[in-house]
């Protein structure tokens, strides 16, 4: 009954090299393990969990890894050389930074030489990947397109077996493994999936193993592994999905038993069938025709000069942005210090009143802008950022729901269940999805009647888009007026092995841990808002990728309500007070959720507010509305269909319409442009315009001198933020192989994935429309603490350290006392002095004018697209 994932690929550890068994002995278990490791690990689309697309290479240094992956699988793993050069010409890659990067890696004397190579030397950049070369011999020798013969039917059988409810007639055999199900069908049928009797007999008799089949098809044992890699990577989407279902069967609500081993067996049988059918007995095993053995897939890849050139360009591209960010942070800090000294007397007057309210957001980079606008609208407001599950991990069951949803980061397996009850609204059905339109007679009656209604509906969806059951609604996940079972008074109260709700002690642990993590342990405002986020969108199979990553790709409203309940709890507060966290009686916590696509803000449990707070809440709400208007305006600059200069309300309405428009492939831009993760007090970033590019995690080093809390805070950063960042990186640089390609032709397969056309492979990764604005740069983590403490925190576990040590993510420590940056490379934090001149960091005086004047991309080619991403500015 568990619907969420329990493992995440990014954590898999795999240091063993994959060069086949040295003794040439073929081992089925070994190859299955290897294949699983390299195949994409994306689960059903409803649970979209971001991860590093090249997780299998994470044990290597970033550049070595990507070039190796590219040589093996033919991926494009960086921008193309002419694109870097073009960006250099347009100034997007800075000359001084390029100089710095070359000096750093090649030495001062080599600058001129390497610069010449970077800017003008001609390189042959055509990549001849190793994958597929062995199996290509079928075509060479027999002019037989084995893929064409096998794939379409194989995919259809797989899709039919795994289908979650598109087909009217689902796979007739249920509750059996894939092979057993197909076998039962074969035994019971007048017709067969196979073309030849002999292979059908072999299948039914069960007298086959992978090894035996390979002996017939491939012949030589030393080629077996390579052949299977070739075969499975000819449809990595399907293979990856089968492997993901095997490991996480709960990713399908209607569970299916299938293993990668079964897929291999079945596919080999189908290949044998196709060979026998097409060539009769006039064929010999593949090895017979292979005179020159192909290069081992995983053989070392020599570093080329081109690779070095690319490495320098990529570093320069990244640092062209990072360097200005670091400069911006120190400038904003200097200015704050100056203001503080000057305004000491004034501020001491204000200090008594405290913040007007506090709002805790998800660290999600999309919330950067709304926080900035709230602080601009109400200067006394205080905002925080924390991973959006707000420190409470549990499964959630919607009233009437038959499954549980996991609401916490994917690698965590919760022991608790929160249930919804007393929901007031009922989900409606939408007639258009009725399967009756696919019958002969019912289809006839419906087309001559309902067909005309469909026309009216179409007019409506084009000109009056509005929320409907057809649309993925962020607020549909939990009823606004429902109640939740949060407190557990009897630990024996369980369901399917999960404890229903938290006991008092468990609540205290979670409340305290959360508050300490973000450094909110005093100066509580009268109302503290938990602001979860979710995203509404229409006609979007990838809607899960827009929801909260810290809640396993779901809207996080429930978590906001649960943590509010805990911190409002009288007894919890009593215990907290004994631990030094005194929450005044007048302070109340309120759960709410921001719809990042529609820019709507919904509140929960407003009725618990005291009279006084209710009034304050009314005022706050007005401020939030204003902030949402501004946020909508800021987002609208990237949407060509919206005129940013219109009245605020009109822009807001246009933004809202996008989220319910079936014709809109970009309801929002998701995590596009994410680049930074800043772990520190809000004051380090408050004076900066970061263009929605920064994950912001509140952390107060003053409350954590020895870094104990920091270790906890840093744990998910690589996995969650780094995972998101790298998925965007790879989907951006190779949207065709590592991304899902453009959304426009996608066909929904079995309710778990998308493919192009009827016979296509599943397409894991992100679609083009989501990554179009993204600059493919690695994540830069900036932590406000002493370098030694930061080092200790990231070294706390090898999984965490790998992200930084292997340079998949950059990290900088901002020494809070020295006001100095330390950049981590080759195991040590070394001082880094930004080279950006102070005059290059401009100040925004009027946000609205600034947004209206921002540049729009001319086309979505990277050179144009990146011009839409704004540099760092100081805020007035």
């Amino acid at each position: 009954m568990d619907t969420a994932s329990t493992s995440v690929a990014g954590t898999t550890h795999h240091k063993k090299s994959v060069t086949g068994n040295p003794d040439g002995h073929f081992d089925e278990q070994h190859i299955l393990h290897e294949l699983k490791h390299f195949l994409p690990s994306q689960q059903a689309l409803k649970d979209f969990i971001h991860h590093n697309s090249l997780h299998a290479f994470q044990h290597m240094k970033f550049y070595d890894a990507i070039f190796k992956a590219s040589k093996i699988f033919g991926f494009q793993v960086h921008l193309q050389l002419p694109e870097y050069r073009e960006m250099y010409k347009t100034g997007r890659i800075r000359e001084d930074v390029l100089q710095m990067v070359i000096t750093g890696k090649k030495g001062k004397d080599a600058v001129a030489e390497w610069k010449g190579k970077l800017i003008s030397k001609e390189y042959d950049s055509i990549n001849f990947p190793r994958i597929g070369q062995l199996r290509a011999n079928w075509k060479e020798v027999y002019q037989l397109d084995l893929d064409n013969k096998v794939h379409p039917l194989l995919f259809r059988i797989l899709c039919g077996f795994l289908d979650q409810g598109i087909a009217i007639e689902s796979f007739p055999v249920v509750n059996k493994s894939f092979i057993d199900s197909v076998k039962e069908m074969e035994q019971n049928s007048f017709v067969s999936f196979f073309k030849t009797k002999t292979v059908r007999q072999k299948f039914l008799s069960g007298d086959y193993t992978i090894t035996k089949l390979l002996k017939v098809i491939v012949g030589k044992e030393e080629y077996f592994e390579q052949y299977l890699f070739d075969q499975q990577f000819a449809h990595h989407g399907w293979s990856g999905f089968v492997s993901a279902v095997e490991d996480n069967p709960q990713t399908l609500l209607d569970r299916k038993q299938i293993t990668l081993k079964e897929l291999l067996e079945f596919e080999l049988l189908m290949e044998l069938d196709a060979l026998n059918h097409a060539l009769g007995n006039k064929w010999k095993s593949l090895a017979y025709h292979v005179n020159v053995p192909p290069v081992n897939l995983f053989a070392d890849v020599a570093k080329t000069e081109l690779a070095e050139v690319i490495e320098l360009w990529q570093d320069a591209f990244e640092w062209s942005y990072y360097d200005s960010v670091l400069k911006g942070i120190s400038m904003s800090d200097e200015r704050r210090m100056a203001v503080n000294t000057r305004g000491l007397i004034n501020s001491s007057l204000k200090a008594d009143s405290g913040p007007s309210f506090q709002a805790i957001f998800c660290i999600d980079e999309r919330e950067d802008s709304i926080r900035r606008h709230i602080e601009a609208v109400d200067r006394n407001a205080e905002t925080f950022g924390a991973p959006g599950f707000f420190g409470v991990e549990f499964y959630f069951q919607q009233e009437g729901g038959k499954f549980y949803d996991k609401l916490c980061p994917a690698p965590v397996t919760p022991k608790y269940l929160i249930k919804e009850h007393d929901a007031k609204s009922i989900r409606k059905d939408e007639l258009i999805y009725t399967k009756l339109t696919h019958g002969i007679l019912s289809g006839f009656l419906l087309s001559i009647s309902f067909g005309f209604w469909a026309f009216v509906k179409k007019i409506q969806l084009l000109f009056r888009p509005k929320m409907s059951p057809a649309i993925s609604n962020a607020y549909g996940h939990m009823d606004k007026l429902s109640a939740l079972t949060i407190e557990n008074k009897n630990p024996a109260d369980t369901e399917n092995g999960l404890q229903i709700g938290y006991t008092l002690d468990e609540m205290v642990i979670r409340g305290e841990g959360f508050l300490r993590g973000i450094g909110l342990i005093k100066n509580f405002a009268p109302i503290v808002y938990f602001v979860a986020h979710g995203s509404s969108s229409a006609n979007n199979p990838h809607h899960g990728a827009h929801d909260c990553g810290a809640c396993s790709g779901r809207p996080g409203a429930t978590n906001a309500r649960v943590q509010s309940f805990i911190l409002n709890h009288k007894k919890v507060r009593e215990v907290l007070a004994t631990k030094g966290i005194v929450i005044p009686d007048t302070t109340q916590f309120i759960g709410s959720m921001h719809d990042t696509a529609a820019d709507v803000w919904g509140y929960y449990d407003e009725d618990i507010l005291s009279l006084e707070n209710a009034q304050k809440h009314l005022i706050n709400k007005q401020n939030f509305e204003m902030a949402l208007n501004l946020n909508a305006k800021e987002r609208s600059r990237r949407f060509a269909s919206i005129n940013t200069r219109q009245e605020l309300e009109q822009v807001r309405k246009a933004i809202h319409n996008r989220s319910v428009s079936l014709f809109e492939p970009r309801p929002e831009l998701g995590h596009g442009t994410n680049t930074l993760a800043i772990i520190g007090r809000r004051q380090t970033t408050k004076g900066l315009f970061l263009d929605r590019r920064a994950f912001l995690n509140s952390y107060d080093y003053t409350t954590d001198p020895d870094g104990a809390i920091l270790t906890v805070v840093m744990r998910p950063i690589g996995l969650v933020c780094g995972g998101i960042n790298l998925e965007y990186y790879f989907s951006r640089v190779d949207n065709i192989k590592m991304g899902a390609g453009t959304k426009l032709p996608h066909n929904v397969m079995g309710l778990f994935g998308v493919a192009n056309s009827s016979d296509g492979d599943l397409r894991p990764g992100l679609p083009w429309q989501m990554i179009e604005v993204h600059d493919p740069v690695r994540l830069m983590v900036i932590v406000e603490h002493k370098p030694g403490i930061v080092l200790k925190a990231i070294q706390s576990s090898p999984e965490v350290f790998e992200w930084y040590n292997n340079e998949w993510v950059h990290i900088v420590a901002l020494h809070p006392e020295e006001k100095q940056f330390y950049y981590f490379r080759n195991g040590v934090f070394a001082k880094y002095e930004p080279i950006t001149d102070a005059s290059e960091i401009k100040t925004i005086h009027n946000m609205e004018e600034f947004i209206e004047g921002a540049k729009e991309m001319e086309t979505n080619h990277i050179v144009h697209a990146t011009e839409e991403n704004l540099p760092v500015y100081l805020l007035d």
Partner: protein, 618 residues
């Protein structure tokens, strides 16, 4: 007022040409032109309808132009408007409006934004030409243009393998339908000795009965049912339809969900007066429709992907429409067409949302399945459904493979000397054939048959040729010279101008194509036809020019060869069965060979992997 019918065609056509002038990034400008076209299209359709209703509901005929006329042949552009046209034009203009509006946002920043709107405007033109056509010649122009639009939209994502494969599949069926229609026109010409218009179809029927030529009439009807069944994805051609859903969802919606796929029904409605009394024909149509309705429904029931499910259900409904046409329930057909078109367009447009909707539905309504024993019938029907009743592989085995096999047997043609001799001989024969027109005894002679067989052999060889593209292209020209020579030796008198029409078009197309291939050859020495090269990535314009060349090579309404090809047919007598079959096959496979060269050299995954290139299976 009748001349206002021109507007139906002129507006989308003008818009089409206007959009050609803009660049891909000029979305605003293209959007304005499309808005003008989609709105005026509706206004014209509705206002003409109202005027026609008020005036009298008699059919309207209007002769737009006569392109070519001799004593024995008239090529006129003739327009015609009746209740069938009315319904098809109103439904068509409304759907065009909706899909164009939808696409304006949906296609935003797609690399093929301009290409998409160019194509759907051209499609709108072709659709209006078909539904307003007053004679077969006019209808045929629309028919061919529509086929090309379909091809371009299926192959919209041209750098992936599957769209190319499926576009080729669709185009090969389309070509059969085109040639069948040509044969229908040819026989009709022999039956009536004139180029008849649609209002005269009743007279044609009477001629057939009066002269006892029912065999000719049956042949004509068969050649009308065949294209109708192909374009409407009826049994046994249904499998191209789900595979055609390769382009953007919006284009699949308007083409394969609604307008394009119903055009076979239109053809039957339009030609109904000709075959309404032929019982055998009606039974045939009913059987085709019923088989399609049943089999397509059985296949639709097991489809686990949303677009293929819609495609098969739509085909099943069209099967019912075939039955309704045959039974004479025309108003029901029109109602059914409109409803089905609206419904399937909508279902396709919202098809991506099915994931969210049904997963939610499952979340609340799921009941674990219980194992029941699987009956033999159920298991067999499921397997058959998943295998699409073997329809696709059957087509390969029985329709295409024999010709491929034949082509491979002709591998001796590979010799440079032999093909050189053939080319010279072909041209020499062509000249002799013309200069000695009055000396050569015509008809019944074996020579035309031999020449036409040589032409077909050369074409089939080119069709299965796996080496140099340029060579294959030259074979096609050689084949053309043999076709013309065969015609010249077959007829007692041929008009010079007609042959010039034809040759001028073919030669022009050949030279253009030769230039394009030569240009690619200069970049890459290896442009053999055994793989995809994907040169459109580097040489987009050359690719486009070669598309024009390939279309010109087969007498697409682009050059004068179009008129020529129609006239050429009339020189074959109605009793020359073998000759006409050979010639028809020539025209089918010339197009397929030319398109094969186009696809292999310019389309598909780019061979140079210095930028992201799709896996074959994606």
């Amino acid at each position: 007022m009748d001349q206002l019918l021109i507007l139906f065609i002129a507006i989308p056509m003008l818009a089409f040409f206007a959009t050609l002038l803009w660049q891909n990034k000029s979305e605003r400008a293209i959007g304005k032109i499309v808005r003008f076209a989609k709105v005026s299209n509706i206004l014209v359709a509705l206002s003409f309808f109202v005027w026609w209703m008020v005036k009298s509901t008699e059919p309207v005929s209007y002769k737009l132009a006569t392109l070519y006329e001799t004593d024995h042949f008239v090529f006129a552009i003739q327009l015609y408007y009746d209740e069938v046209t009315a319904v098809f034009s109103i439904v068509g203009s409304l759907l065009f409006f909706l899909v164009a509006t939808f696409s304006k946002y949906y296609m935003h920043r797609d690399e093929g934004y301009k290409r998409f709107f160019n194509t759907i405007l051209l499609f709108a033109t072709a659709y209006n030409v078909i539904i307003l056509a007053g004679n077969f010649e006019t209808l045929f122009i629309g028919w061919e243009i529509k086929g090309i639009c379909s091809f371009i939209l299926i192959a919209f994502y041209r750098s992936r393998y599957l769209p190319i494969k499926n576009a080729f599949k669709a185009v090969s069926y389309y070509r059969i339908s085109d040639v069948a229609l040509m044969l229908a026109m040819w026989m009709m010409h022999h039956l009536t000795h004139q180029n008849i218009t649609f209002p005269q179809l009743g007279e044609a029927k009477e001629i057939a009965t009066a002269t006892g030529q029912s065999g000719m009439a049956v042949f004509i009807v068969c050649m009308l049912i065949l294209p109708a069944a192909i374009k409407s994805a009826q049994f046994p051609f249904t499998t191209w339809l789900p595979r055609a859903m390769e382009g953007p969802t919006a284009s699949s919606a308007i083409f394969y969900g609604s307008l394009s796929v119903h055009i076979g029904v239109f053809l039957l409605l339009r030609t109904h007066p000709f075959w309404e009394d032929m019982l055998g024909v009606k039974i045939t149509i009913i059987v085709i429709g019923a088989l399609t309705a049943i089999i397509a429904t059985l296949i639709a029931r097991v489809q686990p992907t949303v677009k293929t499910q819609i495609a098969y259900s739509s085909a099943a409904q069209i099967g019912l429409m075939f039955i309704e046409v045959a039974l004479g329930f025309h108003w029901l057909v029109l109602l059914h067409f409109a409803g089905n078109a609206f419904l399937r367009t909508y279902q396709l447009l919202v098809s991506p949302s099915v994931l969210n909707y049904l997963v939610h539905h499952q979340y609340f309504h799921y009941t674990p399945p219980k194992q029941q024993s699987v009956s033999k019938i159920k298991a067999s029907l499921y397997i058959l459904g998943i295998k699409e009743w073997n329809l696709d592989s059957m087509m390969f085995t029985y329709l295409w493979n024999p010709f491929k096999w034949l082509g491979k047997q002709l591998s001796f043609l590979r010799s440079n000397i032999l093909i050189g001799i053939l080319a010279v001989a072909g041209i020499a024969l062509l000249i002799i054939g013309y200069t000695n027109q009055n000396i050569i005894p015509s008809s019944g002679d074996a020579l035309p048959l031999v020449l036409m067989s040589i032409a077909l052999a050369v074409i089939l060889f080119a069709f299965s040729f796996r080496q140099a593209a340029l060579k294959a292209w030259i074979y096609l020209l050689t084949a053309h010279s043999f076709i013309i020579a065969a015609v010249l030796f077959n007829a007692s008198h041929v008009n010079l101008i007609e042959i010039i029409f034809y040759i001028s078009g073919v030669v022009l197309a050949f030279l253009l194509g030769y230039y394009c291939l030569h240009k690619i050859k200069a970049i890459d020495n290896d442009i053999s036809l055994n793989r995809f090269h994907g040169y459109v990535y580097e040489q987009e314009t050359t690719g486009f020019l070669f598309l024009l060349a390939a279309m010109g090579m087969l007498g697409f309404p682009l050059t004068a060869a179009f008129v020529g090809i129609d006239v050429l047919f009339t020189y074959i007598q109605s009793d020359q069965v073998t000759l006409i079959i050979l010639m028809a096959l020539c025209f089918i496979f010339i197009e397929l060979s030319a398109f094969r060269i186009l696809l292999r050299i310019f389309f598909g995954p780019h061979k140079k992997n210095y930028h992201p290139i799709a896996y074959r299976s994606s």
